[in-house]
Amino acid sequence: MSYRKTNIGDRIDWWSLAIYLVLVLCGWFSIYASTYDYDHTDMFDLSGRAGMQMIWILSSLAFGFLVLLMESDWYEVFAFWIYTIVMLLLVVTIFVAPDIKGSRSWLVIGPLRIQPAEFAKFATALALAKVMNVYKFDLLRFKNMASLLGLIFLPMILILLQKESGSALVFLAFFFVLYREGMPGAVLFSGFAAILFFVLDVRYSSAIWHETPLGEFYVLVLILVFALGLLYNNPKVQRQMKYLLYILGGTVVLAAFVSLFTRFNYCWLALFLNISLIVYLMVLLVKYRASHFLWVLLFAVCSLVFLYSVDYVFDDILEPHQRTRIQVALGIIDDPGGAGYNVNQSKIAIGSGGLMGKGFLNGTQTKLKYVPEQDTDFIFCTIGEERGFLGSSAVLALFLALILRLLFLAERQKSIFNRVYGYSVACVIFFHLAVNIGMVIGLMPVIGIPLPFFSYGGSSLLAFTIFLFIFLRLDASRGDRL
């Protein structure tokens, strides 16, 4: 191995750095605006949140600079060490953290309060990248898959034990990375299908058309459609597919005809068709012994099991507040004074901003503390209210630009380690963005995770800065190792 030393200033990706700086500054102004008080008007006052955020920004930049000064190899070499230390911290946190608003995720060291869960993201990314940084790495080999899943689920479980379900969910973002590195698309598809089934079933759980519960019916039909869709391209069933569709169409026509005379629960019909399909798939599996049929069969069976366990999961496993948050997001219950208060006030804040916004520091909705958590999880309200559609879409565009830039940088890496790590950064930022802003504009249930670079809080900003800057460091010396 030979090294070609380069000046970091020449090789660093200035685009990402610039977008990062703009986002952090916008965040600082937003925190100033959202915590602006008639008594506290000084942006630099260290007793105020804007002043504190300034300290966090400066120290994050200092840490970021340190990260850039390190040798790029250092991160790969110490990846597992970093992962192990952070995991230990997570474990310690469970036991020593005080109870703050129902969660035990804060380590209190003197005047400092840090949230190790934030740092677990880049630690996990480093560990995943290190595991996959092997020539001709085969993700689908059981040993590999197990170690990857273990690396992802370990911090998730530890964070769940800290009662920070929002932060735990973020680790699902790594499945996007695995997908890029060869995880079957079916896994991602199954994930989406599960979410879709869940939403449909819960959303229409009380909607009944004559005797048919619509939620269940829709999901049963979708399972049928997806399974047939998965089979469609298989050359072995190409000929039978035609008959299959005839049978299906005939059944529908027959059902419609019968329903003229008597009404019955169409779910039974849909379920009957599903079971027939499963039997048909078993026959195909026995006949051709092709794994494709096994996968489709598994999909259909798991989907049916999932469907009939959704109600149980929803009613018995989820916490009541999580249940209501989901119901509010799905528009099942409308409770602007209670469970829906945050989202309702946050939508009012954003909606009242109009196209141009009310102007810096002129937001009444946020300034008067109508929106809870407005400097942390609901920080986007301030932008929506004071900067209007133009400002909030600009922020969204900046985030998208950063994410796409990171994807571009990741793809140009020569080492797998760098690429996996780059994808991790992009996907985690995207996941935060999608969940946080989706929640603020009422498209997602309330899940308490911060908006990267914007939300008030030292741990989040520092962790994201390190997360990003490690990749910028790796990218800067991507050509060093030949």
Partner: protein, 617 residues
């Protein structure tokens, strides 16, 4: 399904498209919220803005000599911020503000009931008690530190310098539903003038409300002014009024009318300014302020002698003999009689079978002594001559001509006094008689109107105004109680003379006759040594005892005052009305009652016509 040979380009593309798609969906939702739905803006405003009304101070009132009659006095409301209260000694609190503990609990419950109190927030001050008395305020102020969450707020109530002139001043009370429906200026809990000057000059007195826009947080706590108060408006104080009332004269008149029913009105003829307007029984205006309003009001409303009614404007009575002056003027102007025309009187009006009867006096009489002795027959003959005159095509035409002359002198319609509740009285026309008599009537049918009986009724202010027109020899200013609106202009109705349509020279014999009545006729008691009083008594027939009327002006040349005294159930005009009139004129023109008349003053003041008239407190 072979995933070992996956295509990285497809996967990268898929992820890129997915990320972009999510952002686009979010942009669409943002556009829906921010550009397509204007409701959010209104919601945010109603969330955050608290429009607080700033109340102007109501205009004060002075009398014509500058004495302060009505002004504003601080009163105290007790406010409570429920969220800030801590356990405290409820009984001590109730004792301090002098309420029962059950009432206190009831009030707290009412405040918290959002049906009764829609704006309730436990973070904002709520009104617990209104208009605390000075004593309770003092006690509570000393111990308020023991009751966290309770506050005292100043507001103003009306205060009165004198216990007099209640009917002229009027009172204010909370605007009722109708007030609020008619004028959007008023909101629930606002005060509005209900009677008297308070009502008729409401638009001047009330001023203009100001407003401030405050910012309110999610708990309803005030966080400051919106835009540093850029959209705030300061309240503009109401305009002060100078009344034409002379409060000393008014008080003197009220004393004289003590224990009697009736009214005294004095007008300055040259200006139409009302110098005093006594309506008895009366009440102390300060009984209708503050927390005792309700109790006092219902007591006054239940009183059978109707102290809330302003008799000077609101009663209509047959004017009796005072009406003869108006008849004489009409006959002169129409050329029916001349000052030299004499009619004979043999103790009655012979064509009517001796009715209306008359009292003993020389006969025949010309006009001046006829007025002086108040001869009934003279004016009956006069009216008969007018109605039967060939000057007019028909008796109907003559009757309507007569009526026009009456209307010209201010009868039959409200004069337009600047006080509410004025009655128009009754002056019949030919249509009226056509209807009553089926078209078959003659001078005898209607003859009693010539002497102010029968169908004719006037309000006391109209009779007083008649005296003013005679004093002015043919014109009058609409009587008014407000002399000046400080910083505002008077209505031209009160600054333009109105002419009666009767020539000035025709007034000379009438004034002469009224002078004769004082010097040697029906109202000799009004003969004040060095003031040339011209007067006319009247006795208005009544189902009970007759009403005693005295109408006068003085002095005869360059008159300074016109007066009407009306004593219900006072018998002949000379009995009570004339001596009261004498005292009032003396008081006004000389400033005090001469020693020779002190006994009269005492005697009148002590006279009780109705024993059970409500005593003034």
């Amino acid at each position: 399904m072979n995933t070992r040979n996956f295509n990285p380009e497809t996967r990268r593309l898929f992820l890129t498209v997915l990320f972009c798609l999510v952002v686009v969906i979010y942009l669409i939702q943002l556009f829906r919220l921010q550009a397509l739905n204007p409701d959010y803006k209104a919601w945010a405003d109603s969330n955050a803005f608290l429009n607080r009304t700033l109340y102007p101070s109501r205009g004060v009132m002075y009398d014509r000599k500058g004495k302060l009659l009505v002004y504003n006095q601080p009163a105290y409301d007790v406010l409570v911020v429920v969220r800030e209260t801590q356990p405290f000694d409820t009984l001590a609190f109730c004792n301090a503000v002098n309420i029962r503990i059950e009432y206190f609990r009831e009030r707290l419950k009412q405040i918290k009931d959002r049906n009764l109190n829609p704006g309730y927030s436990s973070y904002t001050p709520q009104i617990l008690l209104t208009q605390l008395g000075n004593k309770e305020y003092g006690i509570l102020q000393e111990s308020i530190y023991k009751f966290p969450g309770f506050y005292i707020q100043n507001r103003t109530v009306r205060e009165y310098g004198y216990p007099n002139a209640a009917h002229v001043l009027g009172y204010i009370a909370e605007a009722d539903k109708q007030n609020i429906a008619e004028d959007s200026y008023y909101k629930r809990g606002d005060y509005i003038g209900k009677t008297g000057v308070e009502r008729s000059y409401e638009n001047y007195l009330r001023g203009e409300k100001g407003a401030e826009i405050l910012l309110r947080d999610a708990h309803g706590r005030i966080k400051g002014k919106y835009e540093e108060g850029r959209f705030d408006a300061s309240p503009i104080s109401g305009k002060d009024l100078v009344l034409s009332i002379d409060i000393d004269l008014q008080a003197f008149g009220e004393d004289l009318m003590h224990n009697k029913l009736g009214t005294i009105i004095m007008i300055e003829p040259k200006t139409g300014e009302i110098l005093c307007m006594v309506s008895s029984p009366s009440y102390d205006p300060s009984s209708l302020i503050g927390r005792q309003f309700g109790a006092s009001f219902s007591e006054l409303a239940k009183n059978p002698y109707t102290p809330l009614i302003n008799r000077a404007l609101n009663g209509t009575y047959p004017p009796g003999s005072t009406f003869k002056t108006a008849q004489g003027l009409t006959f002169l102007q129409e050329g029916i009689i001349s000052p030299k025309t004499s009619y004979s009187c043999y103790g009655g009006f012979p064509p009517g079978g001796g009715r209306p009867a008359c009292h003993a006096h020389a006969s025949p009489l010309p006009l001046v002594p006829a007025v002086g002795t108040s001869c009934n027959s003279y004016f009956c003959w006069g009216l008969k001559a007018m109605l039967e005159s060939k000057k007019y095509p028909s008796i109907q035409a003559a009757m309507d001509r007569w009526r026009d002359r009456m209307v010209g002198q201010g009868f039959g319609y409200p004069l337009g006094v600047d006080l509410p509740g004025e009655k128009k009285g009754m002056v019949p026309n030919s249509q009226y008689y056509d209807k009553v008599y089926g078209g078959r009537w003659n001078a005898f049918s209607v003859i009693s109107i010539a002497i102010g009986q029968g169908e004719v009724t006037l309000s006391p202010i109209q009779i007083c105004n008649l005296a003013a027109t005679i004093a002015n020899r043919g014109y009058f200013y609409t009587p008014h109680a407000v002399k000046e609106i400080k910083g505002g202009a008077m209505d031209t109705l009160y600054t333009q003379p109105r002419f009666t349509g009767i020539d000035a020279e025709n007034y000379a014999p009438i004034a002469e006759g009224m002078r004769l009545a004082v010097t040697g006729g029906t109202c000799r008691r009004a003969n004040i040594p060095d003031i040339a009083v011209c007067g006319k008594t009247g006795t208005a027939q009544n189902s009970g005892k007759d009403h005693s009327i005295f109408m006068a002006f003085a002095p005869k040349e360059d008159p300074k005052v016109a007066i009407l005294v009306f004593v219900e159930n006072g018998g002949f005009g000379a009995t009570y009305a004339v001596p009261i009139g004498r005292l009032m004129i003396e008081k006004y023109l000389k400033g005090d009652i001469s020693n020779e008349d002190k006994w009269l003053e005492t005697s009148i003041k002590n006279t009780v016509i109705l024993r059970n008239v409500l005593q003034k407190n």
